[in-house]
């Protein structure tokens, strides 16, 4: 099977070239093309906790698109679907540090965990105190002591936005990290793929998905899901909404909760379809007695051109909502600033 053409100059340089583009259109960002680190270009504020995230590329706008006022101070961009190496994470940590410590927001994938852990040790050697917030929001995989645990997926956006606001407010390192762990404990996600994606330079998609079938419980790296089911003849969005919300509700009862909602496209699904899904998801949530306090619909945590969507929720409090509403000015998310 031949993969569709990709709009690239050289597949081997896809990440560098994409970062050149980001630098070209966002002069307010500082882009380190050697380490593939994107950082805020403005003056670091002494006493402000630094916020660093990162991971494999191919999930744009995550994470580089969320660098800016009120969100990340720096992002380390690995090769496509491959976590950055410790040198890259260390470079991002240095760029984000202003002496008050740095929080690493890490998605729970073995590679991300190991490379960030090594980088945290290197940063500690340089006198930069690092706290790690591990995001593991994906209810599609089971968590136990004997597995790699749940994946970090769409909930990462909630963590990065809320912690960005908290750091901007001047909260100390330990409090920002504790808040991050609280947001993770309140966040759940479930994803569905309608078609797989193909990494640049590869001639085959990450998994085969015949027309007429969909993958339930996908991750964000083009890896297959837990289960495959036929696509229903009608009501596909309703079925995806029902399955996703049911899986989340089973894990974190949603009745009487005020929610942050993310109806997230995986990169290859048009906004029209995501809005259809959003309508169905809000219906499903209402039927279960949950209220949507704030919602985002769009491509935020993607897997290249994978078609499909992920539903992420975070239960809120008035304090969390205030942090969510705080000003943010990044390439991909901006309000109030």
């Amino acid at each position: 099977m031949t993969a569709a053409a990709k709009l690239l100059d050289d597949p081997a340089n896809a990440v560098t070239d994409a970062l050149r583009g980001l630098a070209a259109v966002h002069p307010e960002l500082s882009v380190d093309l050697e380490h593939h680190v994107v950082a805020r270009g403005d003056e670091r504020r002494p006493g402000k906790v630094g916020l660093v995230s990162g991971g494999g590329s191919g999930h744009e706008p995550l994470h580089a698109g969320f660098v800016g006022l009120g969100m990340l101070d720096a992002a380390a961009c690995g090769a496509v679907f491959t976590s950055p190496v410790p040198d890259q994470v260390l470079a991002a940590t240095r760029a984000a540090s202003s002496g008050a410590g740095v929080v690493h927001v890490v998605k729970n994938y073995t590679g991300d965990v190991l490379n960030f852990q090594m980088a945290a040790e290197l940063a500690d050697d340089e006198g930069i105190e690092v706290e790690t917030v591990l995001v593991d929001d994906d209810v599609a995989v089971t968590d136990s002591l004997y597995t790699a645990g749940r994946r970090g997926t769409g909930g990462t956006l909630f963590v990065e936005k809320v912690l960005g606001a908290a750091a901007e407010k001047g909260l100390p390192l330990a409090e920002v990290a504790a808040l991050g762990r609280d947001v993770v404990s309140r966040s759940r996600s479930f994803g569905v793929a309608l078609s797989p994606c193909t990494t640049p330079g590869s001639d085959q998609p990450g998994f085969d998905l015949p027309p007429g079938e969909m993958e339930l419980g996908i991750g964000i790296h083009g890896e297959p899901g837990r289960r495959r089911v036929p696509v229903p003849a009608t009501g596909v969005a309703r079925e995806v909404a029902r399955t996703s919300v049911a899986a989340i509700d089973e894990d974190l009862p949603l009745a009487h909760q005020d929610l942050l909602l993310l109806v997230n496209g995986m990169g290859g699904t048009p906004l029209l379809e995501l809005q259809v899904l959003a309508a169905d998801v809000v219906d499903e949530l209402s039927a279960r007695g949950a209220r949507v306090a704030r919602a985002l619909v769009g491509n935020h945590v993607t897997s290249l051109e994978m078609a499909g969507a992920m539903v992420s929720v975070c239960t809120t409090t008035p304090e969390l909502l205030e942090l969510w509403d705080a000003p943010v000015r990044t390439p991909a998310l901006r309000w109030g600033a």
Partner: protein, 198 residues
């Protein structure tokens, strides 16, 4: 056959041979990764081993221990994912333990480092399943080719297992029937060692 000591020229020949095998088999390793992971294991390891060879071309480490340590550090700095830290730690720890000691105890130190970092045990369907029997073979005084055979059998043994660590673990039962690409790479590492013939 007694315990094996490794000198610097053999260590260099070993890792250059491993780089050659990874080049040859990169596509195959990536194919193993496709059904259970994100289809990049071969490409990533190839990038790392190219960097290792380039580092050796630039400056030849003087001791076998320094050869392994240098290779390990280079892998950590270039591969990313889980393979960079795990293969990097294996070679770095082995290199640090090597000088003054024999290959078996050095590789045991490497294995301990990998287990400490990744938390996997034999039976979790990871590279540990290939590495453990190979190290045990060397510790028992078996030959390098017997260690390579043990690693290959260990890699094959991951096929019927439900992975409990790494990305394949997210598939649960669906991962059964697939060989772990990291274990297969460890088998190649020992094939290269047997070929370099310490």
């Amino acid at each position: 056959m007694g315990r094996v000591n490794l000198d610097a020229p053999t260590a260099l020949a070993w890792l250059r041979a491993f780089a050659g095998l990874v080049d040859e088999r990169a596509g195959e390793l990536t194919d193993l990764d496709r059904p259970i992971g994100d289809s990049d294991h071969g490409v990533n390891l190839q990038r790392g081993m190219h960097a290792v060879v380039a580092a050796f071309d630039q400056e030849t480490p003087e001791t076998a221990g320094a050869v392994l340590t240098r290779a390990g550090s280079t892998l950590v700095s270039t591969v990313g994912g889980a393979s960079g830290p795990l293969f990097g730690t294996l070679l770095r720890r082995a290199g640090k333990a090597l000088d003054g000691g024999d290959l078996a105890s050095a590789l045991r130190a490497g294995l301990d480092g990998v287990v400490k970092l990744g938390g996997a045990q034999v039976g979790d369907a990871t590279l540990v399943d290939a590495l453990t029997p190979a190290v045990e073979a060397l510790e028992a005084g078996r030959s390098l080719s017997e260690a390579a055979e043990a690693a290959a059998r260990g890699a094959a043994s991951t096929e019927p297992l439900v992975a409990r660590k790494g990305r394949a673990s997210y598939l649960g039962e669906r991962g059964v029937g697939h060989r772990d690409p990291g274990a297969e790479s460890v088998a190649l590492l020992f094939t290269a060692l047997a070929g370099a013939g310490a």
